[in-house]
């Protein structure tokens, strides 16, 4: 297994025999092949990255040289799907249709092609993940801009017929070497063509296709996949004309994809498992259906429910970003909901997004009057907007705009014309709006059991009904119970009840009158709450924690019950746990499940912030919380309570105050001195967290913060400059720490911990600092009587240590420290929670006996986030992370940044260092780079400073200056040598980063040039490339460290 994503379950010992935490690049994979001499290689399981790497290894002759067999779909077939020209040819040979399309290599040819096709046209780039570099161009200007940009990162782009408002349909196809071929699932995009399927609401199975449509496309899929010779799993995407029998094949992905993960969860058909078997040469008929365990895997699942997937975006976190969604992917996660009506499923999914929505409706503050204008935009933060524009040119919040438009009296036709969304879906949303109206009317009269039941059957949550009817959620729950209105548990069995299922893949619905399962068990049951939707700040790490908790529970003989709804996770593999409830992680749903199952209790500390946030409520509903008590969790989460505790314990913290008015905030800032940090409590990933340098900053930030979370107060604290940030991950039992791991950040405080480069074991911390940190952690553990996992963050400056925050749950870095130290924190925590693991004297330092260094690097997606300022700050922006191991920090660091997609500079480096202090601090490193033979370029002030200090750097003019040599020419590399690295250290932390600096950063992202915006990181990079040559980087498996 080669994967630098250390937080995944697949890089766990029980999943692979040998694991390399190394970049999935031809260079490293070749080294691994040379070392391991494998017989075969699987390319279709690691997404586009793995596929591209495999093609490169084949093309360079590496696979042949080492006699490595490609298992499953062969390279020729992969290429026929990846190279557009080959693909179109193959489709034509099979007698099928693709959109009219021209492959071009320059912008001029693109314009010519567009004239033949007629605007609007669509451009796409070959070999691209997530629709990167693709978009709709309505005129020549748009096309020429977009084509240039796309051609910067791809040698070839396509100009295509734009099938506006056609239906977008996908099929997941499986074929074995004996030519058995099936379609496991089809899916229909709620959002029509023009919006990337990863950006679309998707339903499975298709809803608006007749038998003719469904089976025509199915037959085409099978015909084409046979023609291409794919073996294993693939995905085919279609555009289907809503007004005729016309179709176009958009693309085939000859690998497992996001869609196949969704399809697996939507159907219960384990696509990756089956694809792996097929790659090994099994035929479909030799594999059993994993759910029934009696019938064959050579069949097509029949669903008796509907699945709705909604993407989760985090666009609000980015400054300047375009919020429009389109053909390039910007979402960071997805929620999948299962129901027996569309209304039920979509309303669940809306809540699962965890963006504050109660459902499709009922989100307004003006709850008594759902007809009020802009009613559903309560969570959006946007004051007013152009409804027609929002409908026609969607942002991440179009679904709310549809609701608004319905309330404004838009006709179905108007809605359909603007959005292109099939009327069937729109009717269903109208239905939800109608029920909201009925509920609002009932608020003044009486909420009848009939209406309550109808609302529940249409996916209304208790708290949503409460909001609409001006009642309390608890009262709605009580009313439900009084009338016996409760959800039933249904199984996902792949055969619509035709055969009994042996697995417990479950969901709740109000559209039924009986449970599929019984709840008696010979084992003690424990519920583990999952991590929910992936978003910036909460990703695969928490899933790893949950899965390890579940494994530990099962090993110890418990029946492990998982609740989670993220189709991308391992915890939602139904064979990982004893019972999987693929449903909401809300107090309502968890309590409903708890009441049916009567387990020993629930573990809430593994799934991150979502379960953490409902702990108090669950406790109130009678759910027994295992591990640290809800009271203690609240004491750590509530800033006020936590601060009082720190004061009581004599632990230092940055000066802070709870905020009630802007005037008070200004007073505080005047007293403590700027800069100050503003943040709401109860948040993860620094939502709405900001540093303010002056009064007007403060006002602006406060406005933003209060909107994100109204239920909890906002906190303002003194921001300490030039301070190191250090974290501790630990497990305690009954207030005594069992094991701990201290991790240092490369970047100084001011960079969110999720965006920081982390080093473990720490290499640059004073012994005194670590001693103090351990001591504080021990005090906190005792004071809060912690049992289970926890994480604390500290500021460290000249051996002074201040506590920033404390989370009584597993953290983002748990898998990282667990894997580097080879001590499984999640397992230890689970045992501690069960009372099976106790502290034995002093805490174990996880760093003891660790002979390597692990460096964790963030992965950013700025290239995709059009307009976003690619800068790291207190608000988390990274969308993933990787970690590599090495004998030295430098070795591990270089591999880690390469794994995150960073290309080590070949020659040309642009330096733009803001502020005298930073310039002085960076000077020795610039000298080093110069000595190493790099060609340095610099912006005006930086160049002058370097010149004064004897470093040669070519001065480049700002983009806004119409003078040569200009930065722009070196960024786009058309007329000048292209830059290989841009180091832009923003001028202090001022609010308005100079527009010119923003342009440099943004263009660097657009042209795919590696960018560093942090001084400490830039210094480490310079040191590292001076210390280690790329060819000297270690290629060692995990177990060799």
């Amino acid at each position: 297994m080669v994967n630098p994503n250390i937080a995944t379950c697949q890089t766990d010992k029980q999943f692979a025999d040998k694991i390399y935490f190394l970049p999935v690049t031809p260079y490293f994979v070749e080294k691994i092949i040379a070392k391991e001499r494998p017989d075969g290689i699987l390319l279709g399981f690691g997404g586009q990255t793995a596929l591209n790497c495999g093609i490169a290894l084949h093309d360079s002759g590496v696979l042949q040289r080492y006699n490595v067999k490609v298992l499953g779909t062969q390279i020729d077939a992969i290429k026929a799907t990846e190279d557009r020209e080959l693909f179109v040819k193959a489709v034509e040979t099979a007698g099928l249709k693709t959109p009219r399309s021209f492959a071009v290599t320059n912008a001029n040819d693109a314009l010519k092609a567009a004239e033949k096709i007629k605007y609007p046209v669509m451009i796409r780039s070959a070999y691209a993940l997530g629709g990167l570099g693709s978009g709709v161009c309505r005129d020549a200007k748009e096309l020429s801009d977009m084509a240039r940009q796309a051609l910067a990162s791809a040698p070839q782009i396509l100009v295509e017929e734009y099938l506006e408002h056609w239906k977008e349909i996908e099929y997941e196809v499986v074929r074995d070497a004996s030519d058995n071929c099936i379609t496991v699932c089809n899916m229909e995009n709620f959002d029509p063509m023009g919006i990337h399927t990863g950006e679309s609401i998707v339903v499975a199975p298709s809803q608006t296709l007749t038998n003719h449509d469904y089976h025509k496309l199915r037959e085409i899929a099978i015909r084409l996949i046979r023609h291409l010779g794919i073996i294993g799993e693939c995905n085919i995407q279609y555009a289907l004309d809503p007004n005729s029998d016309e179709y176009r094949i958009i693309e085939v992905n000859a690998r497992l994809s996001r869609s196949s993960a969704l399809a697996s969860k939507a159907t219960g058909y384990p696509l990756a498992f089956v694809a792996a078997k097929l790659a090994l040469g099994y035929s479909l008929t030799e594999i059993k259906n994993s759910v029934t365990q009696t019938t064959t895997a050579c069949f097509e699942p029949a669903l008796d429910y509907i699945v709705v997937k909604i993407p989760r975006w985090d666009l609000k976190k980015f400054r300047n970003v375009s919020r429009k969604v389109g053909s390039s992917m910007k979402s960071v996660g997805e929620a999948m909901a299962i129901g027996r009506t569309f209304e039920e499923a979509i309303q669940k999914a809306m809540r699962m997004l965890d963006i504050g929505a109660y459902g499709l409706v009922g989100n307004s503050d003006n709850k008594a009057n759902p007809k009020s204008r802009r009613g559903s935009r309560g969570i959006s933060g946007m004051q007013s907007y152009d409804l027609d524009d929002e409908l026609a040119n969607p942002t991440d919040e179009r679904i709310f705009a549809i609701v608004d438009a319905i309330k404004e009296g838009y006709s179905i036709k108007q809605l359909h014309d603007l959005t292109g969304i099939d009327e069937w879906f729109l009717y269903k949303i109208i239905n939800v709006v109608e029920i909201e109206k009925e509920l609002a009317e009932a608020a003044t009269k009486e909420l009848t059991p009939g209406l309550l039941k109808k609302a529940k059957q249409n996916g209304f949550a208790d708290r949503q009904i409460a909001k609409i009817t001006c009642a309390k959620a608890n009262d709605i729950r009580a009313l439900r119970k009084k009338h016996g209105i409760a959800p039933v548990v249904k199984q996902i069995d792949t055969l619509a009840a035709e055969y009994p299922a042996k697995t417990n893949y479950l969901y709740l619905t109000y559209n039924g009158n009986g449970d599929d399962i019984t709840f008696s068990s010979s084992h003690k049951k424990i519920i583990v709450l999952g991590s929910g939707v992936y978003r910036i700040g909460s990703s695969v790490e928490f899933d790893w924690c949950c899965v390890n908790a579940v494994f530990t529970l099962r090993q110890l003989g418990y029946e492990a019950i998982m609740i989670n709804y993220n189709p991308e996770t391992v915890s939602t593999d139904y064979d990982v746990c004893d019972k999987l409830y693929f449903d909401e992680i809300s107090s309502e749903t968890v309590a409903d499940i708890y009441e049916k199952e009567s387990p020993e209790g629930a573990i809430v500390s593994m799934g991150g912030q979502i379960p953490n946030n409902i702990t108090l409520k669950l406790n109130e509903f009678g759910v027994r919380i295992l591990g640290t008590t809800p009271g203690s969790i609240d004491q750590a989460e509530d800033r006020q309570k936590f601060s009082q505790l720190l004061d009581k314990l004599g632990i230092d913290q940055p000066q802070w105050e709870e905020l009630t008015s802007i005037e008070e905030a200004k007073e505080f800032a005047a007293k403590a001195g700027y800069p100050v940090l503003v943040r709401p409590s109860y948040v993860l990933s620094g939502a709405a967290m900001s540093i303010a340098f002056a009064d007007d900053d403060l006002e602006q930030y406060l406005a933003k913060a209060s909107k994100v979370n109204e239920e909890y107060p906002v906190v303002i604290s003194k921001f300490i400059m030039n301070s190191k940030e250090v974290e501790i991950d630990a497990v305690a039992a009954c207030g005594k720490i069992i094991i701990e791991a201290i991790t240092e950040h490369v970047e100084n405080a001011g960079v969110h911990s999720g965006d920081a480069t982390m080093v473990f074991p720490p290499k640059k911390l004073y012994v005194e600092t670590t001693r103090k940190i351990s001591e504080i952690a021990a005090k906190i553990a005792e004071a809060l009587s912690i049992t289970g996992p926890f994480n604390m963050q500290f500021l460290a400056k000249e051996n002074e240590v201040k506590v920033i925050e404390c989370n009584l749950r597993a953290s983002r870095s748990f898998p990282f420290v667990s894997k580097v130290s080879k001590k499984n924190f999640a397992e230890i925590a689970t045992k501690a929670i069960l009372g099976l693991e106790k502290a034995n004297g002093r805490p174990t330092d996880a760093a003891n006996g660790v002979s390597c260094v692990g460096v964790k690097s963030p992965q950013f997606s700025f290239t995709r986030l059009k307009g976003a300022d690619p800068i790291i700050s207190v608000e988390m922006a990274s969308t993933g992370e990787v970690a590599c191991l090495g004998s030295t920090t430098y070795d591990a660091f270089l591999k880690a940044i390469m794994a995150a997609g960073f290309k080590l500079p070949e020659k040309n480096i642009l330096l733009s260092v803001g502020g005298d202090d930073a310039k002085i601090k960076f000077l020795p490193y610039a000298k080093k780079l110069s000595e190493l033979g790099y060609s340095l370029f610099a912006t005006h002030h930086t160049a002058m400073f370097f010149e004064k200090n004897g470093i040669k750097a070519t001065m480049l003019h700002k983009v806004s200056e119409d003078k040569k040599p200009n930065i722009l020419d070196y960024l786009d590399g058309r007329n000048e040598e292209k830059l290989h690295l841009v180091v832009n250290i923003p001028t202090a932390f001022t609010k308005k980063e100079l527009e010119d600096e923003y342009v440099i950063r943004r263009k660097a992202a657009d042209y795919g040039i590696p960018l560093i915006t942090n001084l400490q990181l830039a210094r480490l990079l310079a040191e590292a490339i001076a210390a280690v040559k790329p060819e000297e980087l270690e290629v060692k498996a995990w177990d060799e460290y």
């Binding site: 008796d304 027996r340 069937w424 599929d516």
Partner: protein
């Protein structure tokens, strides 16, 4: 559930064992008895409802969202065959679904499912836990039952299988399609799905559709190259005339192709036996393996009876076998030009994987 403004009428489905599921009526306002069967297909309600094999049965669809794309028009092709349906009318006695979509959307739709059902006088009920109902049928086997609509007179349970259902749905007189086609196929109509006819005429055949009991071996005037025995409702043993006629044709070694009920009739004509399955196969995802090639095909099925392979006389072999439960899915004679399949190669609704069998049949016909 889809909320229509008009007040909903309550309705219920009552099973033989006394189980009652309550919902709302969205079809004709009348109560009907029938054999309650479930189908797990996710698309194709217009095709299923008009499939004559559902005669006498109350159809439960396990896919919960039904009615989404409305109902297409009843225009006919140049042979006079309705383009969008499997027979001229709704054949199932009643329909049971979970969530009916009163609003529909499709460019081919001309009316709602509800309106169609009302026009055709067929009751339908939504708001039912069709999964629970299906599990009951799976565990206890298909049962008699009835749909009872509020305010309509109740009905008694009736076993349709004691009637000759094929006779009720088959064509009344000889009809020829695509006269002058290259090959002439006699199609014995025991309740044929129209796509069987379309599949043959589209291959250039002339199809002579005759009633289920038509004594074609005795018809000296009848000029034909091959015989197709259609699908149809009920117990194959009720089709005594068909069995007798097919047996006579077998003696003459005339090329023949049986589909669904036709498979059972060929078996009975050859001297084999059939039996009733506990809850039948009604779905679009039945995997059938060809023992000869090992290849597996996804097929569409609708049958409650099956051939007992052990009773088949020498010379017969299994053409297909169900990959899930090992039941017989087709027969072939080792030396004579007889083949039949238990599934529906003509699809509609369902996958078209087995469409190639019509070509195989025609190769046999030569």
């Amino acid at each position: 559930m889809a909320g229509k403004k008009t007040a909903l009428k309550e309705a219920k489905i009552v099973l033989q064992d006394g189980t009652i599921f309550e919902g709302f009526s969205f079809g004709a306002e009348k109560s009907v008895p029938g054999e309650v069967v479930f189908n797990t297909g996710m698309v194709g309600y217009p095709e299923s409802l008009t499939d004559p094999s559902y005669k006498g049965q109350i159809l439960v669809l396990t896919y919960p969202l039904i009615g989404n794309y409305g109902v297409p028009n009843d225009s006919c092709d140049k042979y006079g065959l309705p383009l969008n349906f499997e027979s001229e009318k709704i054949q199932a006695e009643g329909l049971v679904v979970a969530d009916y979509s009163s609003e529909y959307s499709h460019y081919t739709a001309v009316k709602s499912l509800s309106d169609w059902l009302k026009e055709e006088g067929k009751p339908a009920i939504f708001g039912i836990d069709t999964r629970q109902l299906t599990k009951k049928l799976r565990e206890k086997g298909v049962m008699l039952g009835k749909i009872v609509v509020e305010g309509c007179s109740d009905v008694k349970l009736e076993d349709p299988n004691i009637r000759n259902l094929a006779a009720e749905v088959a064509v009344g007189k000889k009809t020829v399609y695509n006269e002058g086609g290259k090959r002439k196929i006699v199609l014995i109509d025991c309740g044929v799905k129209l796509n069987i006819i379309r599949s043959l005429v589209n291959r250039g055949c002339s199809v002579i559709r005759v009633p289920w009991d038509y004594d074609f071996p005795a018809d000296k005037e009848l000029d034909f190259d091959g015989i197709a025995v259609s699908n149809g409702p009920g117990d194959p043993k009720m089709c005594t005339a068909t069995i007798k006629n097919v047996a006579a044709a077998m003696k003459k070694e005339l090329p023949m192709f049986g589909i669904c009920l036709g498979n059972q009739i060929l078996a009975l004509a050859a001297g084999g036996d059939t039996y009733k399955l506990k809850y039948g196969h009604r779905s679009q995802n039945q995997p059938c393996i060809s023992p000869a090639t090992g290849r597996c095909y996804i097929t569409t099925q609708n049958h409650g009876y099956a051939v007992n392979m052990k009773t088949m006389p020498a010379g017969w072999e299994e053409l297909f076998v169900n990959a899930n439960d090992g039941t017989n899915e087709g027969l072939r004679h080792r030396s004579k030009p007889f083949m039949s399949v238990q599934f529906h190669p003509e699809a509609t609704p369902g996958p078209v994987d087995a469409d190639y069998l019509f070509d195989e049949f025609l190769r046999m016909v030569k």
